[in-house]
């Protein structure tokens, strides 16, 4: 409630209040003098009257001053305003009903939902409109849409649409709704009633521009907040598979938008149908994180995390991609089975990749002979170590597809590598053509040339940025594989795009070279992973460096299917690495979902998901070529309404959402009443 003055300068007349004060102080005394023999009694009387008279005098003064101040206030034309609507809805002859059917309106509300409450209110408003009022209806769940092409006096269809209104899973498009309302009003004045729960941290702020335009065109926006008080909702904000490549954990972020602390059960459902439940304590209005460890072997696909919450069930489940989790995701191809551990790369790699033997998770490498490369599968493997393999050329194409699909390959050098068997057959894979091994120092001497400090800005070495980087200096080698495309100072003219040196030995010889191919990477370690050319496996950094190599190379790998994410009510697009095939998009309910495709060498696919869940793209009855995890819009889960629409509308034009009363006549009447009262009191006082 606010008090304002239309003529504030008139308050200066308040200085006239000094008049009655002076008059009061300058009371006249009679001049005639009368000798009186009972003055003692008069003094007693005066003393007795003094206290009573003092009170009367003050009351008189107060009445006079108040009367004058009220008269001055009346001249200043005060007016009182408070939040309120026009006396009659429909008074302007045009009404647009905007009903929020977004996800958050599915909140439970005394046996129904907020949407049913809003619908009932809208129907009641419809019944109360003056006859002949032109009415329009706009829904703002997902994408704002007019249900009536123009304003109409025929309310039957509008009533039917409201009665049959169903909740959507989309976000609140208040901005679009106001735009549609403006279009319906076609520049004429009209009332826009907005039935919404105002949920979402930016719903109102994003609509302020359109709100201002609507008001500018004569629209009277009348918010009809439909909220639960206090609001309450639990949701899984985020769920993703963690860093561990094998048997790792799913990280969950759960939010509580209610006003009370709660302990909630969160269940993670895996693609194989198994479920894992954890309990999480959620502070009021806060979030909590939880980790759920998945079994060592889980098929890849779309998993889900669900929190039990009755307030708004539609957003309880969050879908996320889970890569295939299994113990055999790293293949180590042993190209040089040594007679002693010292002569075996696999001996060191096995221990570096699975220091606990796989019993506590981590990488459990699958060691195979070079012929085992035939079993390489993008579904089962992420990274392949080719340790001093003499001739991988028979599997060159398989390796190339593996890398293009997101897999990672590491070649380590050794005495078995020859330029003839690598350069030409594996031209499409190798970061650089091999030459002959080159001794950096005498091979029989002890020690070797150490590595340069790695660049911590590189993603591969980020984990060593704070500590451990110096440990690389202890890694030495005496011999490296010579690379044709490089000299000791850097790139040559023949260097290819996507190739870079990640690490060098002191003196400039490349130690680790990377080449990106498709969605995958190929790394070439120019020394050995055993003690043949250097001492790398003996250094403490070897284990974390090897683990990091696997994480680095396998990060993009998710099996054969393309993975994508989407939001209900928003167009979701993805690109498939092939073209010319007939695709079928299946929704979480098993029904085909219409989509748009742009064919070419690659296929551009887009569709509008209406339901949350796992969508899959298939070619015939083949396994899915793409999986899409579609979720409800996260902002709809925040049901707290941080900025009421009423306040936003009032900020644009306070007159829209308030009622006013002019207080001038009241002040004048009160002033006259006080004048009358003071005259009566003064008369009584005089007597």
């Amino acid at each position: 409630m606010n008090l304002g003055l239309l003529a504030p300068l008139a308050l200066a007349l308040g200085a006239l209040a000094i008049g009655p004060i002076l008059a009061h102080l300058a009371q006249q005394r009679p001049s005639e003098r009368v000798p009186f023999g009972a003055m003692m009694l008069l003094r007693r009387m005066v003393k007795r009257l003094e206290k009573r008279r003092r009170l009367k005098d003050r009351a008189l003064l107060a009445l006079r001053v108040l009367a004058l101040l009220l008269a001055v206030l009346a001249a200043a034309q005060p007016q009182l305003s408070w939040p309120g609507d026009p006396a009659t809805i429909g008074g302007l002859g045009r009404v647009v009903l905007i009903v929020d059917d977004s996800l958050s309106m599915s909140q439970r509300d005394a046996g129904g939902t907020l949407l049913t409450r809003a619908r009932d209110h809208a129907l009641a408003t419809l019944d109360q409109l003056p006859p002949g009022t032109l009415v329009g209806l706009v829904l703002i769940g997902g994408e704002a849409r007019q249900l009536t092409p123009t304003l109409t006096a025929e309310t039957g269809p509008i009533r039917d649409a409201l009665v049959n209104l169903q909740p959507s899973y989309g976000r609140t498009d208040l901005e679009g709704g106001l735009r549609e309302a403006r279009a319906l009003l076609t520049g004429e004045r009209g009332e826009v009633l907005v039935y919404t729960d105002e949920a979402g941290p930016t719903t109102i702020s994003e609509a302020q521009g359109e709100l201002a335009r609507l008001v500018e065109r004569g629209g009277v926006v009348l918010p009809r907040p439909t909220r639960n008080d206090p609001p309450a909702n639990l949701t899984v904000l985020d769920a993703r598979y963690g860093d561990g490549l094998e048997g790792g954990s799913v990280s969950l972020r759960v939010a509580n938008y209610g006003a009370e602390d709660v302990e909630a059960a969160v269940t993670v459902g895996l693609p194989d149908g198994s479920e894992i439940t954890a309990f999480v304590e959620l502070p009021a209005g806060g979030e909590a994180e939880e980790r759920v460890t998945v079994p060592p072997t889980v098929p890849g696909g779309v998993a889900w995390a669900r929190v039990i919450d009755a307030a708004l069930e539609a957003d309880n489940t969050r879908f996320f991609h889970l890569p295939r989790v299994g113990a055999s995701r790293v293949m180590v191809v042993d190209g040089d089975p040594g007679s002693t551990p010292v002569r075996s790369e696999v001996y060191f790699l096995e221990r570096a990749l699975a220091p606990w033997g796989g019993a506590r998770g981590g990488v459990l490498p699958q060691v195979v002979a070079p012929s085992g490369l035939a079993a390489l599968s993008a579904e089962e493997h992420q990274v392949v170590f080719l340790a001093n393999v003499a001739d991988p050329s028979p599997w060159a194409g398989q390796l190339l597809d593996f890398v293009r699909g997101g897999g990672g390959v590491i070649f380590s050098a050794g005495d078995n590598l020859t330029a003839e068997r690598y350069n030409e057959p594996l031209r499409a894979l190798m970061p650089a053509p091999l030459e002959r091994p080159r001794d950096l120092i005498d091979l029989t001497a002890s020690g070797g040339v150490p590595l340069d400090l790695p660049d911590p800005s590189l993603e591969l070495f980020e984990a060593f940025a704070e500590e451990g980087r110096q440990a690389f200096r202890r890694v030495t080698t005496r011999r490296v594989m010579g690379l044709g495309a490089f000299n000791e100072t850097g790139w040559t003219e023949s260097s290819q795009d996507g190739v870079r040196v990640l690490m060098r030995f002191e003196g400039g010889a490349p130690a680790l070279v990377e080449r990106r191919i498709g969605r995958g990477r190929v790394l070439l370690w120019t020394s050995t992973f055993d003690l043949g050319w250097g001492g790398a496996p003996l250094q403490a950094v070897f284990l974390p460096f090897t683990q990091r190599l696997v994480a680095y190379l396998g990060g993009e790998s998710a099996g054969g299917a393309v993975r994508a994410e989407g939001v209900v009510g928003e167009v979701t697009s993805l690109r498939l690495p092939f073209g010319g095939l007939t695709l079928r998009l299946t929704g979480p309910d098993g029904a085909d979902v219409p989509m748009e495709t742009v064919l070419g060498e690659q296929t551009e696919l887009s569709f509008l998901p209406r339901l949350p869940g796992a969508y899959s793209v298939q070619v015939g009855d083949e396994p899915p070529v793409a999986l899409i995890a579609v979720n409800t819009p996260a902002e709809e889960s925040d049901v707290r309404a941080p900025q009421p629409l009423t306040a936003a509308a009032a900020a644009i034009d306070p007159a829209l959402t308030e009622r006013r009363v002019r207080l001038g006549p009241w002040a004048l009447g009160l002033a006259l009443t006080f004048l009358l009262a003071q005259s009566l009191l003064a008369r009584r006082e005089a007597s």
Partner: protein, 311 residues
């Protein structure tokens, strides 16, 4: 000599005439004169000796101690009376008295003079010695004290003092009564004629001291009805002839409040006097003198309620 002043002589004659008229009027009709204050007091015992009257024998002593003793009495034949007249400035106001004196027409002082003279005449006529103490006043009689004596000469002396007296100054009743105590050798009668316009806590203790000396106290409270009812027409500045701050008063509005104050004051006065065995005689200046004197002379009680009701 002031007594040769024709005006004074006229006043003396007027006083005498009014006093005689009043007293004779009061005593007319076969009233038995009453000796005010007369009594017979026990003096002591003496052993019985042959020839003493057996009526004087104290039989109670004989019964208790088996001794024959005779009671002896001291008979007082005279009652010392002192008239204390308030002649302060406040007495010069008032207009309701029918007892006109030259230059004192109708005011409270004129009434007080006649009342004092009448009392003096009456007491002298009763063979009592009468004295006079004037409180305040102006003129030759101001502050005068005449010791109590009997006879026509004393009466003439009192009349002469009264005839020369004019109202003025401040009475200071308490101080005056205090000076009177040592001057009274025996029990006596003190009659105070005053408008009592001094706060009672200033003079009531002095009256109490006289009372403890077993002095008979009679207070003639001189009141002007117009003053006490504020029977005035216009608002004016009211002031005391004795000095002090003037007060702006609207009579019409203040009269009810003054009436309440007056009643409370009269109750206070009566209560104080009753506590000290003093007799209170309201003396309204617009009523004949015998209205104030009759209760004293005839022994009838005054009727304060009726008097108050007239206020």
């Amino acid at each position: 000599m002031i007594l040769w002043d024709p005006n004074v002589l006229a006043r003396v004659r007027r006083l005498h005439l009014l006093a005689v008229q009043t007293v004779e009027g009061l005593l007319h009709g076969g009233h038995k004169s009453r000796r005010v204050g007369a009594n017979v007091e026990f003096a002591d015992y003496k052993d019985y000796s042959p020839g003493d009257s057996l009526r004087d024998l104290d039989w109670k002593v004989l019964a208790r101690s088996d001794r024959l003793v005779v009671r002896r009495y001291e008979v007082e034949t005279e009652l010392q009376c002192v008239l204390v007249l308030d002649a302060s400035g406040d007495l010069s106001t008032g207009q309701g008295s029918p007892y006109a004196m030259p230059e004192l027409e109708g005011n409270k002082f004129g009434y007080s003079l006649v009342l004092t003279a009448t009392l003096a005449y009456y007491l002298i006529k009763q063979q009592e010695p009468v004295g006079l103490l004037v409180l305040g006043g102006s003129g030759p009689g101001a502050g005068v004290y005449l010791p109590a004596r009997g006879g026509g000469t004393q009466l003439a002396r009192i009349f002469a003092q009264l005839a020369t007296l004019r109202p003025g100054g401040v009475a200071r009743i308490g101080e005056g009564l205090n000076t009177l105590g040592p001057r009274l050798r025996r029990r006596g009668l003190v009659a105070l004629i005053s408008d009592l316009m001094e706060e009672p806590e200033g003079w009531m203790p002095s009256l109490a001291a006289l009372s403890r000396r077993r002095t008979d106290l009679a207070v003639f409270h001189v009141m002007d009805r117009r003053e006490l009812t504020l029977d005035y027409e216009r608002p004016a500045l009211y002031f005391s002839p004795e000095g002090g701050e003037a007060l702006p008063i609207d009579p019409a509005g203040a009269a009810p409040e003054l009436r309440a104050v007056l009643n409370a004051w009269l109750v206070e006065l009566r209560g104080g006097l009753a506590e000290h065995r003093g007799r209170y005689y309201p003396s309204w200046t617009d009523l004949p003198l015998h209205a104030a004197l009759a209760p004293m002379i005839t022994g009838r009680r005054a009727m304060p309620d009726r008097d108050l009701g007239a206020v």
